[in-house]
Symmetry: D3
Subunit: 170 residues, 6 copies
């Protein structure tokens, strides 16, 4: 039977840390579904469609990587896709505790579904979408932190929003 | 002298984790006062009155459990109630650090008052009011995570608010 | 291609927490190899042979669970067994940091090998082989913490060692 | 060559914990620049000008302490001021992880700049600007937590804002 | 009914951090039993008798503080003493995880017994018996870290052991 | 006045992580003294003399790096060398807590001496002398983890000790 894993997240935007986890995950499973969470209550910089489109372009032509979005409970989405595994990356102790909570809750809601974790590779262990947006909004370079395409989209997006909202990174 | 402990919190809404701490605390002290914090700046789902009412119904008929609310500094409330002990539950390392900070600050403000901690029981160590609301808002079942009454109130409350504001749990 | 995962450890002795990870892991991979580390420098209670034998008996008749031992670098063993995945359980933040270090080191030594983590189930999140031995040496019951067979072997082993070496658990 | 260190922060408002780090830092470096972050997106209680003014008054007459503000990337500000060292205080594990992330990111953006950390002194290890504002807003005393001047300004500021927005500290 | 709490530990030797927890605990409970763990497998500096004697002298004349020792499972000792509460101090995150494990294990073995935690006061949050012994063995002053009596006994004990075994504290 | 910092440690043996901290530290201070702790109670692989010699060879010709050893309390050594600053690297949360404890203790013993911390660079954040020895003892390659000279010395040392004591790394 084909082994399918779901890699869920906000991906606002996708970083090289996410890309690293995807590339490593697809080596282990037969198919990896990158699942963008539809979360209208969060103030995302990129719309759900923009987030999905960017990831699709980055992995264009990759047969065993699918990009999708979902707007229900993650475990319900995973069951609907007939997958049994959720993949997550771990960077920090604080990640760890939140993910621990989510993994236990998800198992409680559906004991057929397992969450597997990978440690972030060193060069990406400090990366987060939030940090990338903060740096870009202050006109810092995020080169090497996100794929080229995302770098370009971030610049376009932030130019549109104007420069009135900058925050010093300290 | 009667030994009174105060168990403060937002309880928005009360979970089975809170109930577990209350049931264990009342075994140790002669009286336990569940004290709902009046915090208008937080965007609570339930009003202060609703939160107090739910807890009162859950512990109806229990002589040594009182439910109250407060809108001042916790240490001032504790002193006014002539109690000497604040009870708190600990789940995570992040809990621990925040609670450490609050316990030290409260002792500094009133050295007569002591904060005692209990470790959350395993089945509740991952539970939080926020997680419960997140799951309920996505129409997931929170059965076993909150008392039956809270489950019902959550459903009513979320139906009123409509379904436009759902967030995917990832 | 058959997906094989290695679950390494000291297993001195195997606990129900280990059993839980093995049972969950075998649902994800086609074959799971439980690999007992030969570590003569550690003062183990059970010999390598005894540890292997206990695990073999517990999983007797399970076609996709193999029990083996190794005395070299873990990555070399994994490569020799033509596996690509190391499975580990995570219980605590301290686990997390040590496992983070080991996972990064192992990837550095062999980038073809990936380490995947599962969170321990709640009832086992506090369990460790060390704790089990400590309780047993004080004649406490470890029922529910280890398989029946291990309970029996622990009792036999500790009776032989006599009672001169007890430590109070505090 | 004169050794200059930058001590950046929001300082909304400055606490005795910040003052302690500044006094200790100036013993090590020839000059310390306290750099107030201009962050219009954060809902600060005090304006940038107010925050800078309070710190200037507190360190008035101190030749090797300069107070400044910045509204760009911190590393760009540090380079512009021809400094090589960023100084930060550490209080908690959560501080540690965030600061770790920022220090690695800043080194990545400018490898000439080093971040050095000092552990907060015990009496201040639980202090934060947020906690101070929370206590003051509930009419608790923050004496000993902030300089006298800040205590006075907090009182004035909070009287202006009225009392309608109180939150119970629990 | 008289409320009795047990405060267990190695106390090798008792520090001012332990004394602080005892003094605070006795304000909450009617009686506090300081219970010295008999642990012959640990290489203690002071014998069980010496550890008990020092604590007895320090709390001489205090009616509601008893000093005792135990050599069985802690929960068995607590039950035998007809107490329901174990008291522990918390200093660090690492403390927290170990104590979490022990509290859950003890509740599992005897659900009638509850463990309550107090946060160490700031001046003692860094103290441990091990650190005290390390400093004393290098002829550093431990004044303010342990009671005067313990300071004296440490000096006597270390003089007897000679100076051949010093370790640099780094 | 010349600014001197002390970088203390066991260095058994020095790793590339240590080298990184030394190279970065010497950019900030006028002189850096690498201070090898004389700790006969620890079972070091290399003698104090061997550890000092390796570090001396690695930094031969570097005018502002001195290599020394000490066998007293660190603060006494720092005072004797007329330095005011202790430098340490931080890698993990567990490092953080231990170092927090040591920094507070050292300030208590000598308030003139300050401890400054640097975050380990990513490629070295997982490295420790213990890990290096463990890998080398299993005949794994530690290339890139330690300087070439240390790699050679490790090989010689472990060949002498024979192969009877190997431990599997898991």
């Amino acid at each position: 039977m084909k082994k399918v894993a779901i890699y869920p997240g906000s991906f606002d935007p996708i970083t090289n840390g996410h890309v690293d986890i995807i590339e490593r995950g697809v080596e282990i499973f037969d198919e990896l579904i990158v699942a963008v969470a539809h979360n209208p209550q969060k103030a995302n910089l990129f719309s759900e469609k923009e987030r999905v489109d960017m990831i699709r372009q980055i992995f264009k032509g990759r047969k065993n990587i699918e990009v999708d979005s979902f707007s229900c409970l993650l475990v319900d989405y995973v069951a609907r896709r007939q997958a049994k595994v959720i993949m997550k990356g771990l960077r920090f102790v604080s990640d760890f505790e939140y993910e621990f909570q989510m993994a236990l809750t998800n198992r409680r809601m559906n004991s057929q579904i397992e969450t597997l974790f990978m440690m972030a590779s060193e060069p990406y262990s400090y990366l987060s979408s939030g940090l990338v947006k903060e740096i870009a909004s202050l006109e810092g370079s995020v080169s090497g932190m996100v794929p080229k395409l995302v770098e370009k989209r971030l610049r376009e997006k932030l130019q549109k929003k104007g420069k009135g909202k900058k925050d010093a990174v300290s």
